[in-house]
Point group: C2
Chain length 671, copies 2
């Protein structure tokens, strides 16, 4: 459909869509950066979606039963900023649009969760939004099954571009959605045939419709500029019993001289181009100027959902008061009040009947205590259920036959799992955790980073956390992955030493509202190191004195996880030689770094030899060995300096020199 | 086909395939770990492939024109170890099989490149092998076009499992292969319907054949136990003008009581089960015992390629001597002798006509000098060609119409690109480099780790390496990624400060045979800091004194990349106040760490204030600030402690306090 006939046939629609287009042009020009073409191309689809389908209420942006709109093609951020402004979201002021991409503005370069109401997830790194959306749709299915359609019954809409579909994570997401028949998930593909480097065919000849269909999706298509066709496609997609993809044939940078070119993908800032494009649009208004009638039409769309939201609120009000409070709690992300006592019971029992246990098995014990009382958890694993110890007896399997099930078989899809978990937390009402091998942090990294950036408390259960996994060899043995996760801002990396510390780590991980946690857990059995019960969560301070020197304190051994046992053994040997040795267990460096100087000094006083012990690389340890009153001449690290090898775990520890004997030797050499 | 009729109809085939199966059972039992089911299921396919199709010569494992066999489902490592032993690879002794997964054995838990001849790539992390294979096939196409089918003309065969196909990277690989019509690439899918967690349908309902077809592959299928059907399918696949996928319907752990179950995926070590399975096979021989006739039959298969290899050698010998030497050099991975002078010329010109330049643009200048003389480079980008500055005028575009082109448009597939580049180096004859934004290191991580583990010199061109990228915001701003790459063993992370250092980094990256390089390059323009020419590659020592203190040396500023300019400015300000200040440029921490103590001490002597300046997190820096004769009380770091933000670069540097002024303030406070 050409622009002239579009304008002629659908004048009201045209004006509304054009408001998006010119706001985009104006904001990108003001910022002198950004991406103009995508919002200009998808304005018609977005207009129809918001006008006729999306259930939303700008006056209640967090209304739990709203439809979710996810702009997976996050570089087109002006599309969502324009929509939020036009429909009347309070935070999306015209000034914010004028400040697009500037310091302090809510209108970040790419849409960021937590910056601006109405932005459901942070997108920009391609493929993340579509993969998040699977989590949103799973959370909705789960909550609908468990709470009833009366209070949970909505769609998740996604706009994705070719970039999203080329990223591998999209395949993981598509396959997962297909398997789970997520019929409330609708993906609108911005089929504009253009990427940054040129035409899509330069790098891809995939028949996307066939690809989605191969994974159990229903596929629709439409002229992405014809409002009637768009409406029909969305209507059909909503009625489909499977997840639906709508291939929207669009023109990137519609109406500009850069239309249908890769130039149109980027920032169109040329004044003449912008003026010419306005003329093509028949738009006679100045920069950032939206005529009152157009703004009113958009605001009417924004007001459309108020009644629906109020009806929903009255339905929620018919639930028993306790249920209402619970519903509100889980959507607020507040921790269950039952966590603390469940964790205490586990800790008590652990001390009463101590036994050797892999921390991954300890984690299963903790989950077995928590899952029955913390009903918002949704567990899962990337096809390593028995190894990650993530499934407990009560959960049931989430699948199309049992939407109430709380355990997800994610398949061999670490990245898709992580992205889906982000989506679940963002949806609200559930708290996901998921497992894989620590080494495959690598696969999940892009989404793990976004958990941290978005401040969403996903729990990553990373087992087989060192060379201690043994025979599978260096391809499966993490050595740099603790450092990788610790290098990432706003990430808690827990490496607990025994069942007590595992329980404490879970308590912290399930209680925070703003920080994702990585639980690094051993494959191999470990001796318990916490032998007396304390109600206090000692891990909450990140590090603490586990065993004090009996005589004069000459050595401090700092260790994490499976190496705490080695530190304790080394301490015994040193003490036997009259060398007073303190052992500090450091299950979470980030939490220790957050303690005040006085506490840190108490744990790590000056003047002793210090040795760090961890079966990983040293990077990140110098802070505690050389810093915090440490000294280069009196510090050493017992750990890895290379990749691992294939052999039984004990042999590897010996060959790589991570033993009590090696520790003692280093300590004595430094005294 | 049931086992009885298989045995009856194809007795010779059966025995050969059974040799693989029992060696697998025996080795896994001996190791008490490993994966039995996959080799037992795919033994028939592998036997037919090796017997009738694969061009190989165990006596010349590195013969450049051999067909490549890639076991993407690397957990089934005993399949390839058995094959290599049976066909007569010298290194694959029976003792090595008996030592499966033990310390020092070549038979690592998962197949590892460099440990055992005949293993073409390291697999185990799922999806990597199939994604490598695209690189193998691209290298073959490229070399065939440029050197002629006389010396380069072979297939790449892959065995992939459901795990490989569920990993997102497989989609990137499949789409890339489809686009490039890599007709010499044949993937045999082990369609056994089982994963670790249970049946595939637990997590996937994808129609894999339709999925491959959607990306332009030809698809075949066969009963994976019927040698006639397997042969027919491979024959058809070889004739196909497109990449081919053969869906091989197989039974995991064939013939055992664990057949067709997830138990069968793992280690079958039960004595009775093994005895029963042997009985089903009709195999009366002891553990690790292969009857002479069966071994002889396998060795005859191994000998099949000798003549072909010799013919190839005579064809190679018909090339002019210079060409022959060049062919051998590129397959040995030896650096081009032309690199040094090309780099020197760039360095000289840089000093003669200094100008402000982003290091990504500097990189393009260096490539423009190198690509024409180093013909084995193959460049590319994950859809950021203009931003990564990876394309030079002479390269031409690699695609089905121009196989001689040396530039690959990888599409929005960072992971697939990295994996393909690994495959290219492993194939031999080419040296790939590829670009994306530094932040998307995250997407490429699993393959970048394997570059390091395999010791293959891929060059990762990572531009937009800090908050200096500005308005795109924190989703695109790396802060932890330098630390991530530095935490990885055997990885050179270069962060050059100007054109001279960029040239030096490229010289090193293209000259090593064993280490991948990460080039972290700025988006923003930088002032040149190397103002006098030196033939010597100063970056080769990792760090060096860029500017000496004029008076008494009181402060050492250590900086990398874009922050060297800031250090130089801070030095000026400090010197103006009479505070003698040295600036150390540290383009590569790994190379500096490898220098002897004397040199390190010369660069970083004791006794001064030390400040590190880098627009990333501190992790990794304490070694140079607190260690190497540094002192906590006299050290500081000017960098990032959080994610970045959306704003112009200058504003971000100011807001995050990464400025000369902030540096001066810190230095004075510590004096």
């Amino acid at each position: 459909m050409d622009i002239a006939s579009l304008r002629a046939q659908h004048p009201d629609h045209w004006k509304k869509a054009c408001a998006i287009r010119v706001l985009t042009l104006d904001a990108v020009a003001a910022a002198n950066s950004g991406h103009s073409g995508m919002p200009m191309g998808m304005a018609d689809v977005a207009t129809v979606l918001f006008e006729k389908h999306l259930n939303f209420d700008p006056s209640a942006p967090l209304w739990p039963n709203r439809d979710r709109f996810i702009l997976s093609a996050g570089h087109g951020s002006m599309l969502i900023y324009s929509l939020l402004h036009l429909t009347g979201y309070k935070q999306a002021t015209l000034d914010e649009l004028k400040n697009f991409r500037q310091w302090g503005a809510r209108t970040a370069g790419h849409p960021e969760y937590g910056h601006l109401e109405g932005v459901e997830t942070t997108t920009g790194p391609l493929g993340q939004g579509i993969a998040n959306s699977v989590g949103f749709a799973m959370a909705e299915e789960s909550l609908r099954a468990r709470w009833g359609a009366k209070v949970m019954d909505h769609y998740t809409y996604v706009i994705a571009g070719d970039g999203c579909l080329m990223e591998g994570v999209s395949q993981e997401a598509i396959a997962l959605a297909g398997k789970h028949q997520l019929s409330r998930l609708i993906v609108m593909w911005d089929n504009n045939g253009i990427t940054i480097d040129g035409k899509v065919e330069l790098s891809d000849v995939t028949d996307q419709k066939a690809r989605f269909a191969a994974s159990g999706w229903d596929v629709f298509e439409c002229d992405g500029h014809d409002p009637v066709a768009i409406d029909a496609a969305i209507t059909a997609a909503k009625a489909s019993p499977r997840p639906a993809m709508i291939a929207c044939k669009t023109h990137i940078a519609l109406g500009s001289s850069a239309q249908d070119t890769s130039k149109g993908h980027g920032a169109l800032t040329d004044k003449q181009l912008i003026a010419d494009t306005r003329a093509v649009y028949g738009w006679d208004h100045g920069p950032f100027e939206i005529p009152a009638d157009v703004k009113a039409a958009w605001e009417a769309i924004g007001a459309r959902g108020i009644a629906t939201r109020r009806e929903w609120e009255s339905r929620l009000a018919t639930l028993p008061a306790g249920k209402q409070a619970e519903f509100k709690r889980i959507f607020a992300g507040d921790p269950s009040p039952k966590i603390t006592s469940a964790v205490r019971n586990v800790k008590k029992a652990a001390v009463e009947t101590p036994k050797k246990l892999a921390t991954r098995s300890a984690s299963e014990l903790v989950l077995a205590a928590l899952n029955p009382v913390v009903q918002e958890t949704i567990g899962g694993s990337a096809d390593l259920t028995g190894s990650n110890n993530t499934k407990t007896a009560d959960l049931g399997t989430f699948d199309p036959a049992n939407r109430k099930g709380r355990y997800v078989y994610y398949g061999i899809r670490e990245h898709g799992m992580a992205a889906a978990m982000n989506g679940m937390v963002l949806h609200g009402g559930v708290r996901p955790y998921g497992g894989t091998f620590m080494c495959f942090t690598d696969y999940a990294r892009p989404s793990m980073r976004l958990s941290a950036l978005m401040q969403v408390p996903v729990v990553y259960v990373m087992t087989h956390d060192s060379i201690g996994l043994g025979e599978d060899g260096p391809t499966h043995q993490p050595v740099e992955h603790l450092a990788i996760s610790r290098a990432t801002p706003n990430t808690w990396v827990f490496r607990p030493a025994d069942l007590v510390e595992v329980a404490e780590a879970w308590e912290l991980a399930l209680s925070t509202k703003t920080t994702p946690s990585v639980l690094a857990l051993s494959r191999q059995n470990l001796a318990p190191v916490r032998t007396t019960h304390s109600n206090q969560n000692l891990s909450a301070r990140g590090a603490y004195v586990l065993a004090e020197a009996t005589g004069k304190r000459q050595v401090i051994l700092i260790a994490t996880g499976s190496e705490v046992e080695i530190a304790m053994k080394a301490r015994e040997m040193l003490e036997a030689e009259g060398i007073g040795t303190r052992v500090v267990s450091m299950p979470c460096m980030e939490l220790f770094a957050a303690q005040d100087e006085a506490y840190r000094k108490k744990v790590l006083p000056a003047g002793t030899v210090r040795i760090g012990i961890e079966a990983g690389v040293r990077q990140g340890w110098d802070r505690w060995l050389l810093g915090e009153r440490g000294k280069e001449q009196k510090a050493a690290f017992v750990g890895m300096t290379s990749f691992g090898a294939s052999a039984p775990a004990d042999r590897l520890y010996k060959e790589f020199g991570i033993t009590a004997e090696a520790t003692v030797e280093r300590a004595k050499a430094l005294l």
